[in-house]
C-alpha cells in the first residue's frame, strides 16, 4: 500500500509541475510588413528618382492559406506597400495588374509574416499575355455514390474574350511535382522554366491553326467519357453533349464515336485522363513548344501556359503550381464523392460574360453544388 501511495504521489506532483506555460506579449492581427514592388517587364514607367519601374498606387493581395483569408493593400507613390493589421500566418502575396486586354504584369512571393518586420522586401513583376481561353470549371470529385464511381469528370474551357479563339494543338495537362521540389514549376537543364506534367492530352490540329474555333464567351466541355453517366450511377451527370472527349488509345478507354478526341501524347501514360478527386492541378498550354522530355519526365514550357488551376479540398496540402501560374487554390472544402464542382465566378456583375481571371483561384473560383457542364452556374465562394 505504501508503494502505491508513493507512486501516486509522484504521479500527481509531476502533473502539478507540468501544467504551465508563459503568456506571450504580442496579440494577433497586428503583424506588419513592408514591400517595394518593381516591374521587370519594361511595361511600367521609369521613376525618375530611383530609375526603377515602380508599381505605384497598385493593389497587392495577401492570401493566408492557413485561414483562407485575403487582405488587399495599395502601394504608395513610391511603389512602397505598408501592410498592417495582418494575421500571423504564411502568405502568398500576389500582384496581377492588367495593362491591356491582352497583356498583364504579375508577380508573387511566399512569406511568413508575424510581428513587425521593418526590413523592406521586394516583389518583382513580369509580363504575361492575358489568355482568352481559360479553364472555367473542373469537376473531379465524383458523384454521391458508394461504389467509388468517379469517371464523370470534365474540364470546361471558356473563351473569356470577344474575339474568336482557336484550340488547335492546345494541350491539357495534369501537373506533377517531385518530393524535393517546392512546386511543380522548375528550371530544366536548358535554363528555361517548365511545369512538370504527368498527363498531356492534345487537341488535333497545329498550334496557331484555325480549324477548331471557340466563339467569344463560348463554353467547351472536354469530358473524361462523353456518355450519360446517370446510367451507371443515378446521381451522376449527362456528358453525352460534351464537345470533346479525353481519349488514350493505350488504355481501355471508351471512344464515343461522334465526339472528337483530345488525345494522349505521352507514351508512358496508359490511362484515361484521370485527375485527383480533391487535390490536383490542371493547366492548358498553347502547345507551341510541345512537351519537353528529360528521361521519363515530361514538362511544358511555362511561356506556353494559357491558364492553370490548383485545386485542393484542404489548403494545407502540397501545391503543384505556384504564383507564376496560380497564386491561390480552388475547390477548398469539396469532399470526394460529393457531386460538387469548382467554377469561375463573375466578379464584375455589370459584365456577367467576363469571368474572373486574376491568376489566383482562391479569388477566381467558387463551388457549385452540382456541376454545370456547358453553362455558367452560380458558384459560391
Amino acid at each position: 500500500m505504501k508503494k502505491i501511495i508513493i507512486w501516486l504521489t509522484v504521479f500527481l506532483i509531476t502533473f502539478f509541475i507540468m501544467s504551465c506555460e508563459d503568456k506571450p506579449n504580442d496579440v494577433d492581427r497586428t503583424a506588419k510588413a513592408k514591400f517595394i514592388v518593381i516591374d521587370t517587364s519594361g511595361t511600367l514607367d521609369i521613376d525618375q528618382k530611383t530609375n526603377l519601374r515602380l508599381f505605384k498606387n497598385g493593389t497587392v493581395t495577401f492570401f493566408s492559406r492557413d485561414y483562407g483569408e485575403s487582405f488587399k493593400f495599395k502601394t504608395d507613390e513610391n511603389g512602397i506597400l505598408y501592410a498592417d493589421g495582418l494575421l500571423a500566418s504564411h502568405y502568398t502575396i500576389s500582384v496581377n495588374h492588367q495593362i491591356s486586354e491582352a497583356f498583364s504584369v504579375f508577380g508573387s512571393k511566399e512569406k511568413d509574416i508575424y510581428g513587425s518586420q521593418n526590413e523592406v522586401d521586394t516583389i518583382y513583376l513580369r509580363g504575361m499575355p492575358s489568355s482568352a481561353v481559360i479553364i472555367n470549371e473542373i469537376y473531379a470529385a465524383g458523384p454521391v455514390n458508394n461504389v467509388y464511381y468517379m469517371f464523370d469528370l470534365f474540364v470546361e474551357l471558356y473563351n473569356n474574350s470577344d474575339e474568336v479563339q482557336y484550340l488547335d494543338g492546345n494541350i491539357i495537362c495534369r501537373c506533377s511535382k517531385k518530393d524535393n521540389e517546392p512546386s511543380g514549376i522548375i528550371t530544366a537543364s536548358d535554363g528555361n522554366t517548365y511545369v512538370r506534367v504527368i498527363y498531356a492530352f492534345q487537341f488535333p490540329g497545329t498550334p496557331g491553326g484555325k480549324q477548331y474555333p471557340i466563339q467569344p464567351y463560348e463554353f467547351v466541355v472536354v469530358a473524361g467519357d462523353a456518355v450519360d453517366h446517370r446510367q451507371a450511377v443515378s446521381t451522376s451527370i449527362d456528358l453525352s453533349n460534351a464537345q470533346w472527349e479525353f481519349y488514350n488509345k493505350q488504355s481501355t478507354d471508351i471512344d464515343v464515336p461522334n465526339v472528337p478526341n483530345v488525345e494522349n501524347i505521352l507514351s508512358k501514360t496508359t490511362t484515361d485522363f484521370l485527375i485527383g478527386l480533391t487535390n490536383d492541378a490542371v493547366i492548358i498550354s498553347s502547345g507551341k513548344k510541345g512537351v519537353r522530355m528529360e528521361g521519363t519526365d515530361a514538362m511544358i514550357d511555362l511561356s506556353t501556359v494559357l491558364d492553370g488551376v490548383q485545386y485542393m479540398s484542404n489548403p494545407i496540402f502540397t501545391r503543384k503550381l505556384d504564383g507564376r501560374v496560380d497564386a491561390g487554390t480552388a475547390g477548398i472544402g469539396i469532399p470526394s464523392y460529393s457531386g460538387k464542382s469548382m467554377e469561375r465566378v463573375v466578379l464584375d456583375k455589370s459584365n456577367p460574360k467576363k469571368h474572373s481571371d486574376t491568376n489566383n483561384s482562391t479569388v477566381d473560383f467558387g463551388v457549385n453544388d452540382k456541376p454545370t457542364p456547358g453553362y455558367q452556374g452560380n458558384p459560391i465562394q
Partner: protein
C-alpha cells in the same frame, strides 16, 4: 414491513426510475438536500456539514467525517428535451447511470473509500459540435456538417485513502480514472475517446477542538481524441470545420484526428470552525487553479493546432448560525462565493495571443430554516444573487465584448417526517437569468420542482427516492422557447458492513 413487501417496493421504485422519461441536474450524493430545493446553506445533514470534506472535498478529513462503514448504490435516469439551449448544446438528453460506493474504516487511523460508476449519456440532436465540451474549454474547437445524437458511455473508478500518522495530523490521497467513448451514429460518424485521470494529495490539522485547517493539491489530466474517417460504405470524405475562436474557420474533407490534452491543478487552503455548543459553523476556503489544453491535429504526423490556458482564484465563505437566543429551531445561513478566472489562447508555434477572456463573479446567498419539531415539519428558504463581469478579446476573429450576466435564484424546501422510518420532501427552485444586452442573450426563467422520499429499514438500510422536474422557458422570443428536463434517482445506503 416484511421482506416481500420491501422487495416489491424496491421493484416498483426501480421500474419507476427507469421508465420515467426525465432527468435532473447533476448527479449528487446529497439526495435529501436536492429533493428539498438544494437548500445547502440552511439544512443540516450528515453529508452537508460545513467541514473540510463535505464542503472542501479534502480527502484527509474523511476519517473524521465518516465514522461508520457503509455501502451506497445509486440508479439514475434523466432526460431532457427542448429548443431553449445554446447553438451547439444538445436539443435533449437521455442519461442512465449506476453507481456503487463503499467506505471502510480500516482501523482507527485509516479509512478507505472506493467508487465504481458506469453511465450512458445520449446527447440528442447536437448541431455540428463533436467535442465533448464546446463551451468553456478554449477557442479551438472542431465541428462536422451534420446534426445528430452522440452517445457517450463508459466506466469510472475512484478511491480515497486517509491516514493519521501523528496525533491531530491527517493525510489524504485520492485517485480516479474514467474512460469514455462517444459515437455519433450518422455521417461523418466521429468517434470520441476520452480518458480522465485526477487525484488529490491533502492534509488536515486539528488546531483545537473547534478548528481544523487543511490544504490540498488536485492535479488532473484529461485526454480527448476525435477521429473522423472516410465513410467505408460510400467512400465519402468527412467534412471538418476547424475553428480558432470566432468567425475564422477552415474546412477540410479528409480523414481527420484531433487530440486535446488537458492538464491542470487546483491548490487550496481551507479551515472550518464549529462552536462548542455547535450553534455556529463556519467554513472558509481559498484556492488557485490553472489548466492548459494543448490542441493537436494529425492521424500519423501530429501538428500543434494551438494552446489554451486558464487560471484563477476561488474563495468561499459559508456560515450557519442556530439562533438559540430566539428559538433553537431557527437556523440562519449565509454564503459568499468569489470567482476570478482569466484565460488566453495562443498560436501553435509563435508567441502570439489569439484571444483573451476574463471572468469574475460574486455570489451571495442567504436564508433560514425552521424545524417544527412537534409536527415533524422542516421548512427552509434561500435567496442567491450572482453578479458577473466578463470580457473577451478575440484578436484573431476580430471580435470582442464586455458583458455582465446577473442571476437570481430562490430556493424553497420542506421535509415532513411521517414516522421514524419514513420522510417526504418537496422542493422548488426558481432561477432567473438576466441577459446581457450587448451579447444578445436569451432572457429565461428556470423552474425546478423536486420530490423526495426516504425509507429507513431497521437502521440498516436507508432508501432514498428523488424525482425532479424542471422547465426552462423564454417568453421574449418568437416562438417561445422551452427546455424541459426530469430525473429520477433511486438511492440505497447500507450500514451493515
Amino acid at each position: 414491513m416484511c421482506y416481500t413487501d420491501i422487495k416489491n417496493f424496491l421493484k416498483v421504485i426501480i421500474i419507476i426510475c427507469f421508465l420515467i422519461i426525465n432527468n435532473s441536474s447533476l448527479f449528487s450524493q446529497i439526495n435529501r438536500i436536492e429533493s428539498m430545493g438544494n437548500l445547502f446553506l440552511v439544512i443540516e445533514d450528515e453529508d452537508n456539514n460545513l467541514n473540510l470534506y463535505d464542503r472542501g472535498g479534502n480527502s484527509a478529513f474523511l476519517l473524521i467525517d465518516e465514522p461508520k462503514d457503509w455501502l451506497k448504490i445509486n440508479l439514475l435516469s434523466n432526460s431532457g428535451n427542448g429548443s431553449l439551449h445554446k447553438t451547439y448544446e444538445p436539443a435533449g438528453k437521455n442519461n442512465y447511470s449506476i453507481h456503487f460506493e463503499a467506505l471502510k474504516n480500516i482501523d482507527e487511523n485509516q479509512t478507505f473509500k472506493g467508487i465504481i460508476d458506469y453511465y450512458d449519456y445520449k446527447r440528442k440532436d447536437v448541431y455540428r459540435a463533436i467535442q465533448t465540451n464546446i463551451y468553456g474549454s478554449g477557442p479551438f474547437f472542431i465541428a462536422d456538417s451534420t446534426t445528430g445524437t452522440i452517445d457517450f458511455y463508459g466506466p469510472k473508478i475512484a478511491f480515497e485513502y486517509n491516514i493519521s500518522f501523528i496525533k491531530d495530523l491527517y493525510l489524504g490521497l485520492n485517485f480516479s480514472y474514467g474512460g469514455e467513448k462517444g459515437i455519433k451514429k450518422i455521417y461523418s460518424k466521429p468517434e470520441i475517446t476520452n480518458r480522465y485521470i485526477s487525484g488529490q494529495i491533502s492534509m488536515v490539522y486539528q488546531l483545537n477542538e473547534n478548528i481544523f485547517i487543511g490544504a490540498k493539491l488536485d492535479p488532473f489530466y484529461n485526454y480527448e481524441k476525435i477521429e473522423l474517417v472516410k465513410d467505408p460504405d460510400s467512400g465519402t470524405d468527412p467534412i471538418t470545420f476547424k475553428y480558432r475562436g470566432f468567425k475564422i474557420f477552415r474546412k477540410s474533407s479528409d480523414d481527420y484526428t484531433r487530440h486535446n490534452r488537458n492538464k491542470g491543478f487546483d491548490v487550496g487552503a481551507q479551515s472550518s470552525y464549529k462552536s462548542q455548543d455547535q450553534s455556529l459553523q463556519i467554513f472558509i476556503s481559498g484556492s488557485y487553479f490553472r489548466q492548459g489544453i494543448e490542441y493537436q491535429d494529425g492521424t500519423r504526423d501530429i501538428d500543434k493546432e494551438g494552446y489554451w490556458q486558464e487560471e484563477g482564484y476561488k474563495g468561499t465563505l459559508e456560515t450557519r448560525y442556530r439562533l438559540d437566543f430566539l428559538d433553537k429551531n431557527l437556523l440562519f445561513g449565509f454564503g459568499l462565493y468569489y470567482r476570478n478566472f482569466e484565460s488566453w489562447s495562443k498560436h501553435p508555434q509563435l508567441p502570439i495571443i489569439f484571444s483573451e477572456n476574463k471572468y469574475n463573479s460574486l455570489e451571495i446567498g442567504t436564508g433560514f430554516s425552521y424545524n417544527f419539531t412537534d409536527i415533524g415539519l422542516l421548512l427552509g428558504i434561500e435567496y442567491h444573487k450572482t453578479i458577473c463581469d466578463s470580457s473577451l478579446n478575440d484578436y484573431l476573429g476580430n471580435y470582442n465584448f464586455d458583458g455582465s450576466h446577473p442571476k437570481d435564484e430562490i430556493r424553497i424546501g420542506a421535509e415532513y417526517k411521517i414516522n421514524n422510518n419514513l420522510w417526504l420532501r418537496l422542493g422548488y427552485i426558481r432561477f432567473s437569468n438576466n441577459p446581457d444586452n450587448q451579447l444578445n442573450e436569451f432572457k429565461f426563467n428556470h423552474n425546478l420542482y423536486s420530490f423526495g422520499a426516504s425509507y429507513l429499514i431497521e437502521n440498516y438500510v436507508k432508501i432514498d427516492f428523488l424525482l425532479n422536474y424542471g422547465k426552462k422557458e423564454s417568453k421574449n422570443l418568437t416562438p417561445d422557447l422551452t427546455y424541459k428536463e426530469t430525473s429520477a434517482l433511486l438511492f440505497a445506503k447500507f450500514f451493515v458492513f
